[in-house]
Amino acid sequence: MEICFRRTPLANGYLFMNKWSFPLVLLVAPAVVVAGGAPPNSGSVPAEVTEGRQIYEQYCAACHGWQGEGAADWTKPDEKGEMPPPPHDETGHTWRHSDAMLFRMIAEGWRHPFNKTDRLTMPAFKDILTDQEIQLVIEYLKTLWTEDQRRYQRSESQDVN
């Protein structure tokens, strides 16, 4: 599976071959590594978070945004009368739900009750992702929240249990 990282001028392949190339590479390379994100199993990012991010980017990002930023104007119904995909980062409300509720929503899908259509705007993934993969996505989403939000969400998850 492809490991996603942010593009930089060097990664695009525009490398000038002259006497300044080598020092330039030495100067810029650390920045490239940092901007590109840590490779898997680097020790700074747990493996399960990396895995969760990969699953998120493959199955969720197209609707919920590559950084979890959600659709534009997610607070208002769209032209079809459906509520757009909300953010999963600190600006959204994903952190307000327990692990059990998040799992259920990903597995079974969801339709906002006041949508003008009958379809599940959040599709069901129980036949596409394993239970473990769903858990990994949830663990990745938690990295997009503030510490206060993670604390609140832990308490919600405990109250449900």
Partner: protein
């Protein structure tokens, strides 16, 4: 002849005086029971009696019988403004400067639930429709707080809708991600959120300052809101609204098992609809 007329007049006078003395207490009581004071809040108790809050106090009204319930003790003398009934039929009263109190039916005493609240500036309260220990209070700029243990511990859960909340309720209307919905009457109209506090959105296009709000627990999609004395009804969870014609300006409302929708008015009256749909007084 003159003597007879004199004796007759004296007798009638005495009779009139005795009759007046006999009915006077009833006249005084009937006068003070409503005294034209607006109904501030309404709910019902476990037996189905109407609990009526006015500036003069709190009364339990059942049929022809009216019983006064003393108000919570308050050093500040602040009057209650908001009333709610819990899923276990517990009665709650609250107001700015008063905080929130629960009434214990067995001991007939009020218990303060203010220990862990940041201040006593409560302007509205709501009780979870099905979870007896879950309560909500609105503390203005301090935000919305929730207790899941009957008021022992309060946690801030949200800032609330953008506009100040005048009244709010928790409903078990289906379709929520969590356990129900919150409907808040604000200075803009009715705001609605699932009780995860995920997002406060407008409930329809109803605009104006909502001073009272309630829903029909037997048909939860039916929500009622009061704006400037006018009662409005939604049958679709707040998506659309229609005005209802009531003969007097409404100031409070509740649902009674016996009477159905009961409204309290600016003049202190209690009205409900008869079989023909006319608004008639609830006997008090």
């Amino acid at each position: 002849m003159k003597t007879m007329v004199y004796r007759l007049n004296s007798g009638v006078s005495r009779l009139f005086l005795f009759a007046l003395i006999a009915v006077m207490p009833g006249l005084v009581q009937a006068q003070s029971a409503t005294d034209g004071q607006a109904v501030k809040a309404l709910t019902t108790d476990a037996s189905g009696a109407l609990l009526v809050l006015r500036n003069s106090g709190l009364l339990a009204v059942e049929g022809q019988s009216t019983t006064e319930i003393p108000l919570p003790p308050s050093d500040s003398g602040a009057p209650p403004r908001s009333m709610a009934k819990g899923a276990d039929e517990s009665l709650y009263l609250a107001g700015p400067g008063l905080g929130i109190w629960r009434y214990d039916n067995a001991s007939k005493r009020w218990q303060s639930l203010n220990d862990t609240l940041p201040d006593l500036g409560i302007t509205a309260i709501a009780a979870h429709a099905t979870q007896a220990e879950t309560l909500y209070v609105y503390l203005g700029e301090s935000g919305m707080f929730r207790s899941r243990d009957g008021g022992a511990e309060w946690v801030k859960v949200d800032s609330g809708p953008r506009e100040p909340v005048q009244a709010f309720l928790h409903s078990d209307m289906p379709g929520s991600m969590e356990s129900g919905w919150l409907f808040a009457g604000t200075t803009r109209g009715v705001a609605r959120s699932m009780d995860c506090f995920c997002f406060w959105g407008d409930a329809g296009e109803l605009r104006g300052t909502v001073t009272a709000i309630d829903y029909d627990p037997s048909a939860p999609e039916n929500v009622y809101a009061v704006i400037e004395g006018q009662l409005h009804h939604s049958s679709d969870g707040g998506e659309t609204w229609a005005g209802l014609k009531i003969p007097e300006p409404v100031t409070a409302l509740t649902f009674s098992l016996k009477e159905g929708l009961v409204v309290g008015t600016e003049d202190g009256d209690l009205l409900s609809q008869n079989a023909s749909g006319e608004w008639v007084p609830v006997h008090e």
